[in-house]
């Protein structure tokens, strides 16, 4: 692969993942016990990329602080998109950092090195101005649908409202240097510059290769999807720690009490502590510096960094943001449950609760199944938490 530069689009918040995106963009949400974006960078570096340009915007400090000046010894340059005016506009911000051809990927979906290589190989072999990865999906509703003619893209439709499409744009592109000019010439729709609009114009004018790939491709559309993402990541063993036991990964800088039970798949990040009598797993990811107290039971749950689950708690099907502190005897009973997001109701979701950053619960708190709890919520002892709690609220008994 001779294209060595990759642009990663990581500037957008990912509003459908609220309330977890209060303090960081979707690419920094956990896929098991590390950020989605870290998996994306792994795929790029494994594919042979030697220069990374991250387009950052919303809460960019969090991306910059986490990755710093390089990732796995590949230098990172940060390009800033101050206002999120579409994916084409985001790519334009990287223009000064790019000479020649480049790979472009979305920073908020798990991809595989093989898919990146496939796109670049097709781009180079067929000598086209653009190539993009295409995958088959049962539902294309939230994505760009594509129609292939032979090996080329024939049609690209952003978020179609019919079910007649089967293939979607996987968000892995290779472009030659002319892409920037092409974006310049694309007219804005509702003030935004979408990359797919530019690609649609390229499809009309020139050739755009569509590269069918079957590699790993996982996207979280809603907060509770992070549970499925974690399951997928753990099932494939994409965990940086050494496997100590069947599908159990414990960081060397974590402490697991001799009387705690880890039922794989379970990943425990650095600096974490698991107390005596705790039963953790299956399908649990504990982020860095997490704490699970004595005799707590945690199943099918994602605990992000710096989160505490105190003694005697029971968590099933829960997604916890960062620095969430749950007191002794907390109960999240697990799904299925109906989840309300604005005016929409998602029925029968396997969700116990989504609890956003820095929410604290005193002792003996229970959650309504399917609860969505905002950030910085203060839950008093003995309270029952209803299905929807706005950020900063107080929940009393």
């Amino acid at each position: 692969m001779s294209v060595r530069t990759a642009v990663v689009l990581a500037a957008g918040e990912g509003t459908r993942l609220r309330p977890l995106t209060r303090n960081r963009p979707k690419p920094m949400l956990p896929a098991a016990n590390r950020p989605i974006l870290e998996h994306v960078l792994d795929a790029l570096v494994d594919a042979g990329v030697r220069q990374l340009v991250l387009v950052v915007g919303y809460r960019r400090d969090r991306v910059q602080e986490y990755f710093g000046p390089s990732y796995r010894d590949v230098p990172i340059e940060y390009a800033v998109q101050d206002k999120q005016l579409g994916s084409g506009h985001a790519l334009l911000q990287a223009r000064d950092a790019i000479e020649g051809s480049c790979v472009v990927v979305n920073g908020d979906r798990l991809i595989e090195a093989g898919s990146v290589r496939d796109v670049v190989d097709a781009f180079e072999t067929d000598d086209v101005p653009a190539a993009l990865a295409v995958i088959e999906r049962p539902s294309v509703r939230h994505y760009g649908a594509v129609v292939l003619r032979d090996r080329d893209i024939d049609q690209i439709v952003e978020k179609p409202d019919t079910d007649e499409y089967r293939l979607i744009n996987a968000g892995i592109y290779a472009f030659d240097a002319a892409i920037f000019e092409a974006i310049d010439e694309t007219s804005r729709a509702d003030g935004e510059l979408g990359l797919t609009d530019t690609i649609a114009e390229l499809v009309d004018r020139e050739r755009v290769r569509g590269v069918r790939t079957e590699g790993l491709w996982v996207d979280a559309t809603y907060p509770w999807d992070l549970l499925e993402v974690a399951a997928e990541v753990l099932a494939r063993g994409r965990v940086p720690q050494q496997e100590t036991d069947g599908a159990v990964w414990v960081d060397p800088a974590a402490t697991v009490h001799d009387d705690a039970v880890l039922q794989g798949p379970v990943a425990v990040g650095p600096d974490s502590e698991i107390g005596p009598g705790a039963v953790v797993g299956p399908i649990v990811a504990v982020g860095r510096n997490g704490t699970v107290g004595a005799n707590a039971t945690v199943q099918r749950t994602v605990l992000d960094a710096d989160t505490r689950v105190a003694a005697g708690s029971t968590l099933v099907d829960a997604v916890l943001g960062q620095t969430v502190h749950l007191g002794p005897g907390t109960t999240v009973p697990g799904g299925p449950a109906d989840v309300r997001v604005d005016t929409e109701v998602f029925e029968e979701q396997p969700l116990g609760a989504v609890i956003a950053d820095r929410t604290t619960a005193a002792g003996d708190v229970s959650f309504e199944p399917g609860a969505l709890v905002g950030p910085n919520v203060e839950i008093h002892a003995g309270a029952h938490v209803p299905g929807r709690v706005a950020g900063g609220a107080e929940v009393v008994r």
């Binding site: 030697r50 220069q51 400090d61 969090r62 390089s70 940060y78 800088a253 710096d306």
Partner: protein
């Protein structure tokens, strides 16, 4: 992490090119540095300490050559002595090697070479390479073949570059450590990272694992392990060398402020056990001092004051002294443990104070960020704060790590009291600092007061050193007048300075006698029409008397000081930025002060 560099074709500028390149790699480490220049003969210069030490040595005794290699080091194991600094040479002085990475089978190779009569002078894994090359040269191999044979013998990760006397070329190879070539019309470069040569060229070639590089007057070639030429693409980079390393931040200082959660994690890693409410620092736990004297200077002195309070709270008599005063007018030491706090471990005043203490047979301990520094070598014991390299002259993350480390030290050597609560608060600290950084309004507050005629900072107890540090930071980078006071001391004189043009930053946390008293002091200030900025967790009523509030997460009193300091760092940074100051390199100041 270390950095390597090499260049061919710079003629008389070779040495200056290498040294300038190393300064761009300082973010990869700076505890020892060296260069080797080649040609008919080799000359090597290397020094423990920052690049300035090497520069000084080269000023005294310049070396020459038409090509050369260089190295900057950040030790994680083993001390950075002159002997352990790179480049490493063979017995005959014909071969010099710089290396970034770890050679895993070095012990076996070294034993074999020692058996064959080779003499080793360092503790490093790297030193096997020049001796391996030497052995091959002795067997009649040409320099390139000798280099290849040596690389074949080692396992592990490496980006390595070598020069051989008489060969007008640099040989390099890579496995799992970064190596990039820089291609200019009349010169060729290699380095761990592009900034090392970015001022000379933007054309680069990324070397891949298993490839061998030769740079000479004719240019560059890349071959595979079998010697077959590899076709490489020349890529163009288009970034500003000043910006790389700053990770998208405008200044190293801001980057380092934002790195504090990470620095604190490293400081605490493997040392705290919340399940047992304990701290484990190995042998240091046996120190059990009956008295403590801290010696330190500048920001570290503020950390030392805080450390002394921690010990006193645990019932151990403790005092903090300015190192320069202690060295020349030492107090009676008795059987106190003397603890020197120094980020660099090279602070001349602190070293002098520690020497004075040793001279009087006191036990000494160095608390430092720099593995193998002079303070570490000279003190009886050492405790590393593990904040990672700090580039900005104004100390930020190292102060936070010093405070966390001193809590660990207190808990390990004088356990008891509120140990369990403190351990929990320390483990919460990275997340709490992150919460503060995510929501801080310090920029707006700073910009409201950029025209102030002076800045005052007040605090009580653990917040008193923080008030002093807040003022020092403001002086260092904004060049404005600033003073920190014990809150109760304000009315004994300094209150005369307070006017409507002098904002007063009051650090008040919790809701106890201390905070009630500080709130009283805030009222005195408010009555004189001075603007008040409360740095608070909101538990007391200080917010009622404040014009602005900088919020802190609620935590244990000792951890609250760390948090309050982060807000004050941000205020100083944004004041200095609004005033257009040279934030990372303020006038008249140096990162580590190695003169008394």
């Amino acid at each position: 992490m270390c950095g390597i560099i090499g260049c061919v074709g710079r003629g008389d500028d070779t040495l200056s090119t290498l040294v300038a390149g190393l300064s761009q790699l300082e973010y990869r480490g700076y505890d020892s540095a060296g260069v080797a220049l080649g040609g008919e003969t080799l000359s090597v210069a290397k020094r423990a300490g920052e690049l300035a030490e090497l520069r000084a040595a080269l000023d005294d005794e310049p070396i020459e050559g038409a090509l050369g290699i260089g190295h900057t080091r950040w030790s994680t194991h083993g001390p950075p002595t002159d002997a352990n600094a790179h480049p490493h040479v063979d017995c005959s002085g014909r071969v010099a090697v710089v290396h970034n990475g770890i050679i895993e089978n070095y012990q076996a190779v070294r034993d074999e070479l020692v058996g064959a009569g080779h003499e080793f002078v360092s503790d490093t894994d790297t030193e096997v390479l020049p001796h391996l090359i030497e052995a091959e040269l002795d067997d009649g191999a040409d320099p390139e073949a000798a280099f290849r044979a040596a690389i074949d013998r080692v396992e592990g990760s490496y980006a390595v570059a070598a020069v051989v006397a008489g060969a007008e070329a640099i040989f390099a190879a890579r496995n799992d450590s970064p190596l990039v070539l820089g291609i200019a019309d009349d010169a060729t470069y290699l380095a761990s990272d592009v900034p090392a040569f970015r001022e000379h060229t933007a054309r680069v070639v990324y070397v891949d694992d298993g490839e061998v590089v030769r740079l000479d007057a004719d240019g560059w070639t890349v071959t595979d392990a079998d010697g077959a030429p590899v076709e490489k693409t020349v890529d163009a980079v288009d970034w500003d060398p000043e910006e790389t390393g700053k990770s998208g931040y405008d200044h190293y200082m801001l980057k380092e402020i934002h790195e504090q959660p990470r620095a604190l994690r490293q400081c605490l890693r493997g040392r705290v056990d919340e399940l047992r409410g304990q701290v484990d620092l190995g042998d240091l736990g046996d120190l059990s001092p009956t008295g403590v004297q801290f010696v330190a200077a500048g920001t570290s002195y503020h950390a030392a004051m805080y450390g002394a309070m921690l010990y006193r709270s645990a019932g151990v008599p403790a005092q903090a002294f300015l190192a320069s005063e202690y060295a020349t007018s030492p107090p009676p030491i008795g059987d106190a443990l003397v603890i020197g706090v120094s980020q660099s471990g090279e602070t001349a005043d602190t070293l002098a104070a520690l020497r004075e203490a040793s001279h009087r047979d006191a036990r000494t301990l160095a608390v430092t960020n720099t593995v193998g520094s002079t303070a570490e070598r000279e003190a009886d014991h050492v405790f590393h704060i593990r904040a990672g390299p700090e580039i900005g002259v104004a100390a930020t993350k190292t102060f936070a790590s010093q405070l966390a480390a001193l809590n660990l030290l207190r808990l390990a050597t004088a356990p008891g009291g509120d140990a369990r609560e403190v351990v929990t608060a320390l483990r919460d600290l990275p997340g709490d600092v992150q919460a503060l950084l995510d929501d801080s309004t310090a920029q707006a507050v700073a910009e409201a007061f950029t025209d102030a005629s002076a800045y005052f900072f007040i605090g009580r107890g653990y917040h008193y050193p923080v008030a002093l540090e807040g003022a020092l930071k403001m002086k260092e980078i904004s060049y404005k007048h600033a003073e920190g006071f014990a809150a109760g001391e304000l009315k004994h004189g300094p209150l005369a300075l307070v006017t409507e043009d002098t904002p007063v930053f009051a650090v008040v946390t919790g809701d106890d006698d201390l905070s009630t008293k500080t709130v009283g002091n805030v009222k005195e200030v408010e009555a004189r029409d001075a603007p008040v900025v409360a740095v608070t967790d909101g538990q007391s009523e200080v917010g009622r008397y404040a014009d602005h509030v900088l919020e802190l997460p609620e935590t244990h009193p000792t951890a609250a000081s760390v948090l309050a300091n982060v807000q004050l760092q941000l205020v100083s940074y944004y004041v200095a930025r609004a005033l257009g100051r040279s934030i990372d390199k303020p006038r008249n100041l140096a990162k580590s002060v190695t003169v008394e």
